[in-house]
Symmetry: D2
Subunit: 351 residues, 4 copies
């Protein structure tokens, strides 16, 4: 079987993250979409009729006439399933798929905290994928579950990794300005966000205060030691379609000036195994030197939406450094991240 023929499926294919999977898998060099699965309401319909497409890029031709199937292991013939399921549904279904031999690359939060479940951003912690071996042994699965983090954790953690490697990170204050697509569809009501800001996103702050600690943690034999970093996170929703912006202040173990900090960001390289995959961000981090960048509309598609964009690296008057980080929430922070994880799994011969 050549790489170009690895059959994959999308679970939750009609939602907004499901749509992003379908868009990003169009012409993928390794994967071929064999099935689109969704809830009973959509099953049996052509995808073009079942889905209310919300992306700027038109629906790929390959998907239009595919008939939506149920999200059950025995209805799907594929090696990898990409999960855009809601968390409660994912909690039940994903283990069934893993049990049945599928590699589940999930965007849901249900298993991110599992001790034997990799929470992956390949460009920073590709080695954590080794947890899959533990997971299979412990759970008796032939398949597996891989997860990617919350869309707001994503860009922040990539930037923190570069700083942590170079100087050691001790404390992080972060305030997000998050895009509408992060809430799915229909998601946020227009009357709630027009001429407005919503200064809270339910359940989000806890995730962003914990997930980076797992990803920046060290894999020690069969488990991950959480990174010893303190986080204080505040999340906001703003009237932006795509692209999460985070304003952060850091305390470092070895204080660094802004020039050294920028140099560390520019010098950062993904681990070798995650460097040349189809979805590898090129570059991993882009540093902008303008006074007012990154901006979501202008910078979210950097590196096809997989690059983390950092700007305004400067001294913090209380701690050490301040900066702004931007990441495309439904590409790097959701569907693109799950696909990148699947590529790493294949590349590590763990499929």
């Amino acid at each position: 079987m050549s790489l170009s023929q690895i059959p994959v499926a999308v679970l939750g294919a009609t939602g907004s993250v499901g749509q992003r999977f379908i868009s990003l898998l169009d012409q993928h060099p390794w994967f071929k979409v064999a099935a689109l699965a969704a809830s009973d309401r959509s099953v049996g319909q052509k995808y073009s009729e079942a889905a209310r497409w919300v992306l700027n890029d038109p629906m790929p031709d390959y998907a239009r006439d595919m008939v939506v199937v149920p999200a059950k292991p025995d209805c799907i013939d594929a090696k990898i399933v990409f999960s855009a399921l809601h968390n409660e549904v994912a909690k039940d279904l994903e283990p069934q798929f893993a049990q049945a031999g599928f590699a589940v690359c999930s965007n849901a939060s249900s298993y991110r905290r599992g001790e034997d479940v990799p929470l992956l951003l390949p460009e920073i912690n590709a080695d954590h994928i080794q947890l899959v071996k533990i997971q299979r042994k412990q759970r008796g699965w032939s398949g597996c579950i891989l997860t990617n983090p919350n869309c707001t954790s994503t860009g922040l953690t990539v930037a923190l990794k570069a700083f942590d490697d170079a100087f050691g990170v001790k404390k992080v204050f972060a305030v997000s300005l998050q895009a509408l697509s992060g809430a799915g569809y229909p998601g946020v009501a227009s009357l709630d966000i027009t001429d407005n800001v919503i200064p809270n996103i339910k359940g989000e702050e806890e995730k962003v205060e914990w997930e980076p600690r797992k990803m920046l943690g060290k894999l020690n034999h069969s488990k991950i030691n959480l990174a010893d970093i303190q986080f204080s996170v505040h999340t906001n929703r703003v009237a932006v379609t795509d692209g999460h912006t985070v304003c952060a202040s850091l305390e470092l173990a070895s204080p660094a000036d802004p020039e050294a900090a920028e140099a560390a960001l520019r010098a950062y390289r993904a681990p070798a195994s995650a460097r040349d995959l189809p979805s590898s961000p090129r570059p991993v981090i882009e540093v902008r030197s303008e006074a007012d960048r990154p901006q979501p509309r202008l910078d979210r598609l950097t590196g096809k939406g997989m690059t983390t964009v950092v700007g305004r690296v400067r001294r913090d008057p209380i701690l050490d450094l301040k900066f702004v980080v931007l990441s495309h929430n439904t590409i790097r922070g959701a569907a693109g991240g799950s696909i990148y994880n699947a590529e790493l799994l294949v590349n590590e011969n763990l499929l």
Copy 2:
């Protein structure tokens, strides 16, 4: 002369802050608008022709047919002038007016740092108005200059005052999400903010890191001792017409839990001299208990736009407290603030 006959003028009357002055002075119980002054381009025109009105509320009738006059002391017959001038222009003109005997209530930043110039939020530091006496003596002016702070400093400082009185504030991390009207008109280009965030506002962070220290400082004989509080501020522009939102984390001298903190906010009262003026905020601080408030569109008009609205008071995982504060940037944070200052001046018999 009855109070209702104090003649006032607006300098920079055609701009967006000037318009807000004109709107708020409509039917003011103490002040009567005697002159509208603007740049040469507008002089001699009827106000309704000279101004491109941008407020939601229609232009008051009294202003429509007033003929715009030059912004020069000898062209204006009034006791108080409200300055909505640009900073460079204000720097030159405001002292000329003060010298000529006018009380200048300024929204410009030019003299906020002057050691003998009050930087006032009457509901928190009404006593600082005593600096006017020093100012008059030192400069030989019969008039004076009073200033109000930057629109982002405003709401934050009111909330900090309540916390500082109750628990002592030591460190403040603050990230703003600022409205478009803060940049004046034409201000921000629509292509720069539609589907976007601008993660910097030129010169703003320095102001918000310094101004609260003066306002929270103690008046000691003839000078103000800056409050010993450290600030780290990041400013953003978002697609909101009016209302600045600030997310803040605090370190306190005497740690307090969220319940005690909310109680301190609710218990806060303006100094007696600033409590019953026409523009006094009622209440000074409103505390919202919902999970997702304050929001600019829903809360900016609380207390006719003069109230500071605080919500999401909670523990900060690194420091002590976190909260969100909202203030109407062109009412409490600009024109309404200058008018409130003028009322205090009259009330203290310092006009």
Copy 3:
């Protein structure tokens, strides 16, 4: 019983139109809100807990602690009920209230086409209220049902009335740009309207092509002869919170130039019985002469949101006249309209 004591109730009180009723009835000189009714989910809760308030103006104090009651005649003690019910619910419930003796002033579309049901804009067809007598006789009701038109029909029909009286209107092409609040809450998804236009509103075009014909029709004994005017209407949704804009082209029976047309608009007066009610628009029509008005954000609150604002009156290259008309869709076009209808009913001694 003095006027100030007419007890009224709001049906569908928690929705966005219900909220507007509650806001406009605050301090109403004739009506006192005696009950707030909503669906089972809300019954028994305090209004401030049951409703997710979406208006810019804060919730009136009187409503906060009222306990929501069921929308049933025997649960409500009032003379007038204002209906913000959904059409399907209104269809069942409104006749029950009318039967039970309530005057139902409805914003729902269910009975607008009833031959014995007045479809009212008091400033143009106050005489149609006489249909209530027919309605009561035919249906054996002691109460009655009055309706106000669709929010897009509203402003357009007011402007057409002035033109029809002066010159006779024969054909109307109209294209709307409608606000989000017209769709209720949650209504339009933010991802559907951010950086976007939706070029259709389900069921709306048919309403706007028919309703003006009834309102501009003549009451002839016991029935209304529909006006002999042809309409072609296209409706769009745009990213505006409140205020519907309509661009129209007209063919007239007696052609008029723009000056005469503007004069006719300015000269238009409401019928005597509708002229001095608490909600009477002052003026009925405001004509703007600027090249780029009316605009929703700047003009929707003209006359407290009850005035119809017209601008850009000019020659049409194919027919006779072209113009733009703006009306506040949830004040004049919904709750304010129903209240104005109720006032007319009282004034005509038909309650």
Copy 4:
């Protein structure tokens, strides 16, 4: 000289249309950008420093380090110049370039009405390019000026062409909802369009009432007979970044039902000479059958932004047909259109 080496230049390279030229010419199969010209303020700077980039797609690498040159014929070594100049500047400069032997493909309006100047949408009136021969003879130029229409005329005229060929078009009512990018940068102030509509665009209605008549006219020996079609046009600005929507009603010479009308749109083909060029729209027209399409955010990139998207084809209650048409205003309606014109010129051996 191989096709891939035709050197071209962009005049007005730093503005928003200039940026779109630079983006679309990246990797163009026939053209190579040899020079970027702009006003004195930018001359001598690197393009990446001179331009404030406003497009979603990042600045192409080839442009970053090019040094901006003056917009003068003797400073530029190229065969074709793409003009994104302002109209007043274009009026002076474009003839100088044509005189000096350059083919000027202009987006400016200055020469659109010239009797010997082609106003081109190659997919509908490719034959009009023959006017270039007359132009050269009459003016003694070795170069030439080609123009593309106003961005709002563009999509409307493409749709009208298909209807005109099939049924004959006699009258057109059109109302536009236009994007912000049509006004250039900084263009529309954010306070003017947030939560708002601007119901006029200066000078636009006249253009859209005239330009389609020239493009739909017949080339008769050395001149174009304007099409005998009446237009009534109203233009609006809405809060959309890119993509102009037009709502239109038509009177036809041979009435057609919506099915026949849709069939005519689907069957429409570009003239042979304009069909297989690099920028040819594929398809020329896309017909959407959903009830609420086309929408700017979802449909503007159809056919890489060169396709005209039509939907809601239905009976008009007064005339014959109604429909909605969408076109990307800075791709098909501006820079992409000029490039397509240049390709036609090359293909016809008229360079």
